[in-house]
């Protein structure tokens, strides 16, 4: 369990690279329209909610994918050390 927590923390810190594409995406899809007065238009808040939710969903998917890769690598390494098929 501790191993999983350690991997989770390591994976979360390795998600730092996503800051640039996420920030750029939010700037283009929300920042520029806001600067052009989109906030007064109906439906913008609804759209913004979906955009933020989408960002969270992508980040969580990448995090889960990374953890899955770590688990698979851990299992393969364990099998190798136990003398399993290479």
């Amino acid at each position: 369990m501790q191993w999983l927590v350690d991997r989770l923390c390591a994976r979360v810190s390795r998600l730092r690279w996503m800051a640039v594409p996420l920030a750029v995406y939010l700037a283009i899809t929300l920042g520029l329209p806001l600067a052009n007065g989109a906030a007064v238009r109906s439906g913008f808040v609804h759209h913004a909610g979906w955009v933020v939710a989408g960002c969270a969903a992508i980040a969580i998917c990448i995090l889960i994918g990374g953890i899955a890769i770590d688990i698979i690598r851990g299992i393969l390494k364990l099998r190798h050390h136990l003398g399993g098929p290479s």
């Binding site: 594409p21 750029v24 283009i28 520029l32 955009v51």
Partner: protein
């Protein structure tokens, strides 16, 4: 401050260029017609036709139309917002290597080319999925089609942007390792 600006002048210049391109691009895209966006809509329509088996033809004033699929690739589907986001993200990611004017120009040109290519691929995927949803190939049940189209667009574009950025980062690291050897 002056020393900082002088030491990073090419990176600052590249960033200013990228931001200007994005702002100008956004203004241009707002009013552009399907004909004016032919440089991106035409290859996109051809790729979508190849992937989906459809047959999109250009109709002036409308866009690229497939009457059998009852689907229009209109200016709003050009993916220019994604292209600008990709260009800006790739420029930001490559800033560290922009130490000379030549390096900055080469990296900016590379970012533009990669952004254009990635836009064609990601936008083709997005439109192909939209066609599948429209035709009922992917069953939505009773879910609002407009909302699904919105969410699909967000996930495909953002996922594509993250994948592109990660791929560019991998190329950068491999390039550095090759030079170090």
């Amino acid at each position: 401050m002056t020393a900082f600006v002088r030491a990073h002048r090419w990176q600052i210049a590249a960033l200013v260029v990228a931001v200007c391109v994005v702002v100008a691009g956004k203004q241009y895209y707002r009013a552009a017609s399907a004909g004016e966006l032919g440089w991106i809509l035409a290859p996109t329509a051809r790729l979508v036709s190849a992937v989906t088996g459809g047959h999109f033809v250009y109709e002036a004033g409308v866009g690229w139309v497939d009457r059998d699929a009852t689907f229009i690739i209109a200016p709003a589907c050009a993916g220019v917002n994604f292209a600008m986001a990709a260009f800006l993200a790739l420029t930001l990611g490559g800033l560290a290597g922009m130490r000379t004017g030549r390096a900055a120009a080469v990296r900016l040109a590379g970012a533009a080319a990669m952004a254009y290519g990635a836009t064609l691929v990601v936008n083709t995927l997005r439109i192909a999925l939209a066609i599948a949803l429209h035709q009922g190939t992917i069953d939505l049940g009773g879910i609002d089609h407009g909302e699904v189209h919105r969410v699909e667009g967000i996930l495909v574009y953002l996922g594509g942007l993250c994948a592109l950025y990660a791929f560019a980062g991998m190329l950068e690291r491999r390039g550095r390792h090759a030079v170090a050897r």
